[in-house]
């Protein structure tokens, strides 16, 4: 792949990378016939974002990496790769300095060297050349259908930002309650904390405040603000409108934006599964759900039922979701596959869990909150029998005094 960008496009690309960097740790680069796609998935696999840059965005674009030594049209390959976000972010880190000095930018994925080459031609004849190592991989896909969502509303990104200002910056999750003529936002309080001890904030947005408002299903959806803030930072800088599509509780939310035919972006965010009525199943399901996304982040409570797991089958803790995975989509072993097709969502209702009770050992059961978490951590201590391991018979330090 090789492409050439002018100064304004470089700035947009840099902002897009900043946005993706706030969401995930690895950037997937996929050149296609229609342009360049940058994708990322977050660590807990609960947010997927993709930026599509179309052909008019570039001064010059070729998605094929040519074999420069022996020109062989049959061997043309399209390289898809991924890199750690840190490395590419360091190239595009300072948007201010990019704005001041860069005139054009050349990005190349040559066939023969396993490097992503970025070259900035700056003012005063300065050329900055970056070689970044990448890893080859299969693509990360999330299949979703924009027209399949029940509710859709859109407005300027500034409007969303202003609304979110009413929430303190440490609020992690916000619940959006959709009604026929309004959207009601409130901060979500974790089940474990006593809600009467926390400050609760609510904001009501009337239908007329939106540019476009079409709610078919009255429902409540809760998802994390972190990714939304990253999206808004990008959208506000470029003064774009943001579309939001929601289905129902537990189903993922889709945010999208686009600029004419230059670029577009989609962000699929997982939402919290609603707690079911029956307490027995609900505690297990929410617990199971919670542990789908064993995350390195401290906020664990982000999971969605339909977003199936991007985890390999070997991981016994996600037994429940592995089952789902096999029923849904054939997965290439290395690639995380991320489906949220609406027709398959019904497969992902939490009902299977009670049936699996018999199969589940204490060990395999995912760690639920509070006391049960302690039980999980200390599970070996609580087990009835100890694992008998053969100990080596070799004595390294014999008794200095003989046995009496």
């Amino acid at each position: 792949m090789k492409c050439l960008l002018d100064a304004t496009s470089v700035k947009v690309l840099a902002r897009a990378i900043h946005c993706l960097a706030k969401i995930g740790d690895e950037l997937h680069i996929e050149p296609t016939e229609n342009g360049l796609t940058l994708k990322t998935v977050n660590a807990s696999k609960s947010a997927y974002s993709a930026f599509n840059f179309h052909l008019p965005f570039f001064l010059d674009f070729c998605h094929i990496s040519e074999n420069t030594i022996q020109a062989d049209p049959d061997e043309d390959t399209v390289i898809k790769c991924k890199l750690p976000m840190k490395s590419i972010l360091s190239v595009f880190r300072s948007i201010g300095s990019l704005e001041k000095s860069v005139e054009t930018c050349n990005i190349m994925l040559p066939l023969l060297e396993a490097l992503l080459i970025i070259e900035f031609k700056c003012k005063h004849g300065i050329i900055k050349h970056f070689n970044l190592r990448y890893f080859e991989c299969e693509s990360v896909e999330a299949e979703f259908c924009k027209s399949g969502y029940a509710s859709k509303f859109s407005c300027s990104s500034r409007f969303y930002s202003e609304t979110l200002l009413s929430f303190h910056s440490s609020t992690q999750e916000v619940t959006w309650s959709l009604a026929m003529d309004q959207v009601h936002l409130s901060n979500h309080i974790d089940d474990e904390i006593d809600p009467s001890k926390c400050v609760r904030t609510e904001v009501t947005l009337a239908k007329d405040e939106f540019v476009d408002f079409n709610v078919a299903l009255c429902t409540q959806v809760t998802f994390c603000l972190k990714e939304l803030r990253a999206i808004l930072a990008f959208a506000e800088a470029l003064k774009l409108d943001l579309d939001c599509r929601m289905e129902g509780a537990g189903q993922p939310v889709l945010f999208s934006l686009e600029k004419a035919n230059l670029y577009s972006a989609d962000f699929l965010l997982a939402t919290l599964t609603p707690v079911l009525d029956s307490t027995a199943t609900s505690s297990r399901t929410t617990n199971n759900q919670r542990k789908n996304y064993v995350s390195t982040q401290s906020d664990v409570s982000k999971h969605s039922s339909p977003v199936p797991v991007l985890r390999d089958k070997a991981d016994s803790r996600t037994v429940s979701c592995v089952n789902l995975q096999t029923t849904l989509v054939p997965i290439v072993s290395e690639s995380p596959c991320h489906t949220s097709r609406l027709d398959s969502l019904s497969l992902i209702e939490p009902q299977p869990f009670p049936a699996m009770e018999d199969d589940l050992d204490l060990e395999i059961q995912p760690p639920p909150p509070k006391r049960a978490r302690a039980r999980y951590i200390f599970q070996n201590c609580l087990k009835a029998t100890q694992e008998l391991r053969e100990r080596p018979c070799e004595v390294f330090a014999p008794d200095s005094e003989g046995d009496e």
Binding site: S166, V199, R200, V203
Partner: protein, 280 residues
Amino acid sequence: MKFRGKMIDPNCIKQFIGILGCMTKLGKSCILRITTTDLYFIVRESQTISASPLIWCALDEGHFFSEFGMEGLSTVDNEIYLEFVAENVARTLSALKVSGTAKSVKIKLTKKLSSPCLTFEIDLPSGTNHSRLVVHDIPVNLVPRRLWNDYLEPEAMDPDISVHMPQLRLMKSIVERMKNLANMATIHVTSEGLLTLTVETEAVSVTSHFDNLHVEKKSIGKEEEASVTIELKRLSNFLGHEQLNPQKVVCDVLQSKLMHLNFLSDSYTLQYFLPGINDQ
């Protein structure tokens, strides 16, 4: 018990939020006392070295609220004492600051989720003639009647010397720098309008002199000067709120015992009682 107040003047709203912000930064928990005529914020910090300092702020409800109604504990004790965790309010304040453009702010005592809260309902204008309602519920505790005496209005003290403070911003920057040198400083005031702030360490001693200060009052028969040693950290915490723009700030010193700062403004008074530290 009931309480309901509504503010519609943007300046009043801003000032109220500013005072609330100031209170939350000065201690872990804050008491709000509501009477038929005034609102009081009381912060009594836990003891550190000496007797606890006390912050007492009185707001005239007539100035701030366009609508005000309250019903206290009983007809005899027609007051409400609430305690809230400063951190909760501080976190909401950044969101409340948005209400600088609010059309109105209503504060009510409500009971949600079976525990009492102070609810702030903010009416924000948005876009085209619409208004957006933002509601914050801050959990509070009702202070039982037997503890009300802990929060009595402090007695008007009879200071040895009382002067107008020099420009607060100036004092603040000096105190900030002195804070790095030592924990305590001595304030020395003379009846000629000279205030000095001295910090001493093993290696160095730094004194700032402010003169030509207006002397408010000096006790006849007592010394012509007074000094007290105080904790700098607390002083700098307090001076940080110079953005409240009081009309004047009076500093009263009671020899070795107390430094009293009084922020005076037509709509509210804010008093800070800093006890002196006796390490001699």
